[in-house]
C-alpha cells in the first residue's frame, strides 16, 4: 500500500533523528525512574509501620498523579525553566506513586510469620529489613517499578512540550501537521520502548524470586550510571535558545525556511504552544515562534520580529461571503467593507488580549472597538431578512463575528444569527458552501493551501507575495465556489518570531535578520 511504503521511506529518512529521540526518551525515563526509585522505596519503607503517615504519603502521591502532565510542566516553568530538568522532575513525580505504593504493599503483605521468624532468630531492624522484608517484597516492588516505567515512557512524550526532546517531537509534530507517518515514527518506537522496558524488568522480577538477588543492586547501579551519563551529556551549552512548536519545526514556511533563507543556527528546542509564551516571558527562551495576533503577545509583553526576507506566507484575514447573498443584499458589501483596513496586527492583538486575559466578552470588546472607531450605530429594524455569520473556534473569530453583527444591524435592515465555534477550516468552509452559513472570516494563506490546495508550481512562485496570494484566492473562490472574498480586514495572523520586548530593545533587534546578525557575532 502507498501509505505503508511512505512510512518505511519516512522512517528511513528520519533514522538519525529517530535514534537521537529514542535516546533522549529512554534517558529522560531512566533518570526520572531512578530518582523515583531512590526516593520512593525508602519512603515506602518508612511508612510501613506508620499508618497515618502511610495514608498521607499515598494520598499525596495519588493526587500528584492526577495532575495533567502539561499542567504540571507549565507550573514548573517559573521555578525550573524548560528542558530536561522540569521534564525529569515531572516524570519523577508520576513514577513516585506506583513505587511507594508497591514498596508499602510489598512489605506489609509478606507473611507475618517470616518477619517474626527473622526477629526471633535475632536479627536487628536493619537485618530484618534487608535480609527478609526487602527480598521478599522485591517482586512486588519491581512490579511497581515496571508500572512506573511504562507510565513514564508514555508521559515522557510530553517532554517534547517543554523542549526536553524525546519521541513526543515526532508525535506532536505529526499531529500538528496531520502527518500520520510522523506520528507513527514517534508512537511505534515509544510503544516498543515500553514493551522492552517492561520485559527487561520482568526478567529482573523473576530473578529476584529465585536466588541471584545480587543482580538487582547491580543493575540499579548500571542503570544509574547510564542515566547520569545521559543527563550530563544533555546539559545545554549557554547562549540564546529558541523554542518552536512541533508544527513550526516541521514546516517549510516555519523552521525549515528559517534555516534555508536566514541561515538560522540558534540552539532550538521543541515546545508546546501552551507553555511557550510563558517560557519566553520568564526568560527561559530567548526567541519563540507564535502567531502575530495572539493575545499573549501583549499579556507577556513580546515583540514580533519583522520577517524582512519574507519566509512566512501571508495569512490576511478577510470575510468570505456567498455570492447569492451579495446579489440579494448589495448594500451588505459596503457595510462589511467598512471594516477593511481598520484592524492591523497590533489592534487585533489588543482585542484578543481583552478577551483572553481581561476576560471581557467578545460582544463587549466588539462594541468598544466600533465605538472608538466611530463606526457604532444603534440597531435598526432587522426586518428585511436574516444573515448567518459563522466562525472558527478561537477568540479572534468570535470577536470578528460580533463586530460584523453590530455593523450589519446598525447599517442595514437585516437581522443577524451567529453560528460560532465551527471547529476547523474544513467544517467552516463546508458549512458555507452547503448554505448553512452565509459568511465567515478566512485567512488568505489557509484558503490558498488548505481549501484551494494551490498547485505547487503556483504556490512556489507566489507563496510569499501577499497580494498575489490574496488575488489568487479571490479569483478561485469566485470561479470554483461562487464566493466573494471581500477586501482584507488589515491584519495578518501569520507565523512570526518573537522576543521579550525588553530583551529585543536592549539588543537592538527589530527584524529576523538583525537577530541572526546579533547571534552569529
Amino acid at each position: 500500500m502507498n501509505d505503508e511504503g511512505g512510512f518505511v521511506d519516512f522512517f528511513w529518512s528520519q533514522r538519525d533523528k529517530l535514534l537521537e529521540q529514542v535516546g533522549e526518551h529512554a534517558g529522560i525515563t531512566l533518570l526520572s525512574l531512578l530518582f523515583a526509585i531512590l526516593i520512593g522505596i525508602p519512603a515506602g519503607i518508612l511508612i510501613v509501620d506508620r499508618k497515618r503517615a502511610a495514608s498521607f504519603v499515598l494520598g499525596v502521591a495519588g493526587i500528584l498523579q492526577t495532575i495533567p502532565g502539561i499542567a504540571l510542566l507549565g507550573f514548573f516553568i517559573p521555578f525550573l525553566g524548560i528542558g530536561l530538568l522540569p521534564a525529569i522532575v515531572a516524570l519523577f513525580l508520576y513514577a513516585l506513586l506506583p513505587i511507594i505504593r508497591n514498596t508499602y504493599v510489598g512489605i506489609t503483605g509478606i507473611n507475618p510469620v517470616e518477619k517474626e521468624a527473622a526477629v526471633a532468630m535475632g536479627m536487628n531492624k536493619q537485618q530484618v529489613l534487608f535480609r527478609v522484608q526487602l527480598p521478599l517484597a522485591m517482586p512486588v516492588i519491581i512490579a511497581g517499578v515496571r508500572t512506573a516505567a511504562v507510565i513514564n515512557i508514555g508521559v515522557a512524550t510530553l517532554a517534547a512540550y517543554i523542549g526536553a526532546g524525546g519521541l513526543g517531537e515526532f508525535i506532536f509534530g505529526g499531529i500538528a501537521m496531520n502527518n500520520t507517518n510522523m506520528i507513527l515514527c514517534g508512537a511505534l518506537p515509544a510503544a516498543l520502548l515500553a514493551i522492552v522496558a517492561d520485559q527487561l524488568l520482568s526478567l529482573l522480577q523473576k530473578t529476584s524470586k529465585k536466588g541471584k538477588r545480587k543482580l538487582i543492586p547491580g543493575s540499579l547501579i548500571i542503570a544509574f550510571c547510564v542515566g547520569l551519563g545521559y543527563g550530563f551529556s544533555e546539559t545545554n551549552d549557554n547562549g540564546m535558545v529558541a523554542g518552536f512548536t512541533p508544527e513550526f519545526i516541521g514546516r517549510k514556511d516555519g523552521y525549515l525556511g528559517l534555516k534555508d533563507v536566514y541561515k538560522f543556527k540558534m540552539n532550538s528546542v521543541v515546545i508546546s504552544d501552551a507553555v511557550m509564551y510563558r517560557a519566553a516571558y520568564e526568560g527561559k527562551l530567548d526567541v519563540i515562534s507564535g502567531y502575530s495576533t495572539d493575545g499573549r503577545l501583549k499579556a507577556f509583553d513580546l515583540k514580533v520580529l519583522e520577517d524582512d526576507r519574507h519566509i512566512f506566507p501571508p495569512y490576511q484575514a478577510a470575510l468570505v461571503v456567498r455570492n447569492n447573498i451579495t446579489r440579494k443584499y448589495p448594500e451588505l458589501i459596503t457595510t462589511l467593507n467598512l471594516l477593511s483596513g481598520r484592524i492591523n496586527d497590533s489592534v487585533m492583538t489588543e482585542l484578543n488580549y481583552h478577551v483572553d486575559y481581561l476576560h471581557e466578552s467578545p460582544e463587549k470588546v466588539a462594541g468598544d472597538f466600533l465605538k472608538s472607531s466611530g463606526l457604532l450605530m444603534p440597531p435598526r429594524t432587522g426586518t428585511k431578512g436574516k444573515i448567518r455569520i459563522g466562525s472558527k473556534i478561537f477568540t479572534e473569530q468570535y470577536i470578528l463575528t460580533e463586530i460584523y453583527k453590530l455593523l450589519i444591524k446598525g447599517y442595514t435592515e437585516l437581522d443577524v444569527e451567529t453560528i460560532t465555534g465551527l471547529g476547523g477550516t474544513s467544517i467552516c468552509f463546508d458549512a458555507l458552501i452547503n448554505d448553512r452559513i452565509d459568511m465567515y472570516p478566512e485567512y488568505s494563506g489557509t484558503a490558498f493551501l488548505v481549501i484551494l490546495k494551490a498547485p505547487e508550481n503556483i504556490s512556489n512562485k507566489i507563496f510569499t507575495d501577499r497580494e498575489a496570494v490574496f488575488n489568487y484566492v479571490k479569483d478561485e473562490f469566485n470561479k470554483q465556489y461562487q464566493l466573494t472574498y471581500l477586501s482584507p480586514i488589515g491584519f495578518n495572523n501569520a507565523y512570526a518570531l518573537m522576543m521579550k520586548r525588553k530583551h529585543a530593545e536592549e539588543m537592538g533587534i527589530n527584524s529576523i535578520s538583525e537577530l541572526i546578525d546579533n547571534t552569529s557575532k
Binding site: E114, E116, A120, M121, V132, K209, G211
Partner: protein, 324 residues
C-alpha cells in the same frame, strides 16, 4: 536455666498471663500445656523477648534477660515455630545458616555445621541443600525449622507447638525422631503444646496452665496420679485412665503380681517395657479368648500371667502411686 518470676502480661486490658512462676532446669524438657488462649505461647515468647512482660522478671542462666540486648539474647536461644517460619526466599542451607551468620561464624564452619545437622535430621545435603522450603513436605520443613534453631548450638530451645501443623501420622513419626536426636538430649527445652499425649511422652515436667495462671507443675506421673485441682482431672479428662495405663510399665507391675501361672500355655508376648495400656489394647480384642500374657524380661526369662492378675496389679500400682 530459665527462671520465670511473677510474670504478668495484659493485651488491651485482657489478661493473657497472670502472675506465673516456673523454672526450667538445665537439660530438662519442660512442657507448657494448656487449652488455646491459656497464655502458654505468650509465656514462651516472653522468654526470648518477642513479648515484653508488664510485671515480673525472667532470668536466663541467673541473669535478668533485660540485661541482654534483645537480638543478642535471641541468638543464644533456639526458636522453633509452629508453621516452621522458614524464609521462603532462602534455600534450606541458607535458612539453617541464619543464626551462625548473624553470630559471624566463618563460612567453612557454617558449611560443616549445616551438613552435620542435615545428616542428623535425615535431609541428605546433596539433595536438599539448595532446595527452597516450598519444595519440601511439611515434615521436612519442620525438620529444617529445627535445624535452624539448633544451628548455633544454643543451650536453650523454645518450641512453639512444633508438631502442631503436621498430620497425625507425620507427627508421631517426627516426634519419635526428635526424641532420638542426640542434639536435643543435652538441651534445656521449653515446649508449648496442647496435645496431652505429646506432653506426657516428651516432658520431664509439665506445667499446666489455665486462664493465664499455672495450675500445676509436675512430672507426667505426678500430674496424672496426683492432680492439683479439678481442672487437671478435667483437662486430661477421658484420656486420663488411658494415660495412667500408659504410664504403668509392665516392669513396674511385675512385682505387684500375686498370682503366676505355669509357663508353656499359649499366650501373647509382651516386653517388660510395654505399658499396661498396650496389653489392654491387645487382649481386649474380642476374637482372642485366652487372656494370657507372656512378659519377656531383660535377662531373657519370661513370666506368664493372666489378664485378671495384671489388672489387679495395675489397680494396686495406681492406688499406691496416688497415696505416695
Amino acid at each position: 536455666m530459665i527462671n520465670i518470676r511473677n510474670v504478668s502480661k495484659t493485651f488491651n486490658g485482657v489478661i493473657a498471663v497472670d502472675d506465673i512462676s516456673f523454672t526450667a532446669e538445665e537439660g530438662e524438657n519442660f512442657i507448657l500445656l494448656g487449652a488455646s488462649g491459656c497464655g502458654k505461647t505468650t509465656s514462651l515468647r516472653m522468654i526470648n523477648r518477642l513479648i515484653e512482660p508488664d510485671l515480673g522478671q525472667i532470668f536466663f542462666n541467673g541473669k535478668n534477660i533485660l540485661e541482654f540486648k534483645a537480638e543478642l539474647l535471641r541468638r543464644k536461644i533456639g526458636y522453633v515455630m509452629q508453621n516452621h517460619g522458614l524464609f521462603s526466599h532462602y534455600t534450606v542451607s541458607e535458612n539453617i545458616a541464619v543464626v551462625p551468620k548473624l553470630l559471624g561464624w566463618d563460612k567453612i564452619k557454617i558449611k560443616k555445621r549445616t551438613a552435620v545437622l542435615m545428616e542428623k535430621l535425615k535431609l541428605p545435603p546433596e539433595k536438599y541443600l539448595s532446595a527452597y522450603p516450598s519444595e519440601l513436605s511439611g515434615g521436612q520443613q519442620q525438620r529444617v525449622g529445627l535445624a535452624r534453631a539448633l544451628a548455633a548450638d544454643p543451650d536453650v530451645l523454645l518450641m512453639d507447638e512444633p508438631f502442631g501443623a503436621l498430620d497425625p501420622v507425620t507427627r508421631v513419626h517426627i516426634r519419635k525422631e526428635f526424641m532420638e536426636l542426640d542434639e536435643l538430649s543435652r538441651k534445656t527445652i521449653i515446649m508449648v503444646t496442647h496435645d496431652v499425649n505429646e506432653a506426657l511422652q516428651l516432658g520431664d515436667r509439665i506445667c499446666l496452665m489455665e486462664n493465664g495462671k499455672v495450675v500445676q507443675t509436675a512430672t507426667a506421673e505426678e500430674i496424672l496420679l496426683k492432680p492439683a485441682s479439678g481442672y487437671v482431672n478435667y483437662f486430661f479428662g477421658e484420656y486420663r485412665q488411658t494415660l495412667i495405663m500408659q504410664q504403668a510399665l509392665l516392669k513396674d507391675l511385675l512385682p505387684l503380681i500375686t498370682e503366676h501361672i505355669i509357663p508353656g500355655k499359649p499366650a501373647l508376648h509382651f516386653h517388660e517395657t510395654a505399658s499396661f495400656s498396650d496389653v489392654i489394647q491387645t487382649l481386649s480384642d474380642p476374637g482372642y479368648n485366652n487372656k494370657i500374657a507372656e512378659i519377656k524380661i531383660k535377662d531373657g526369662t519370661s513370666v506368664w500371667v493372666t489378664f485378671d492378675a495384671l489388672t489387679e496389679a495395675f489397680q494396686n500400682w495406681k492406688n499406691r502411686k496416688e497415696n505416695e
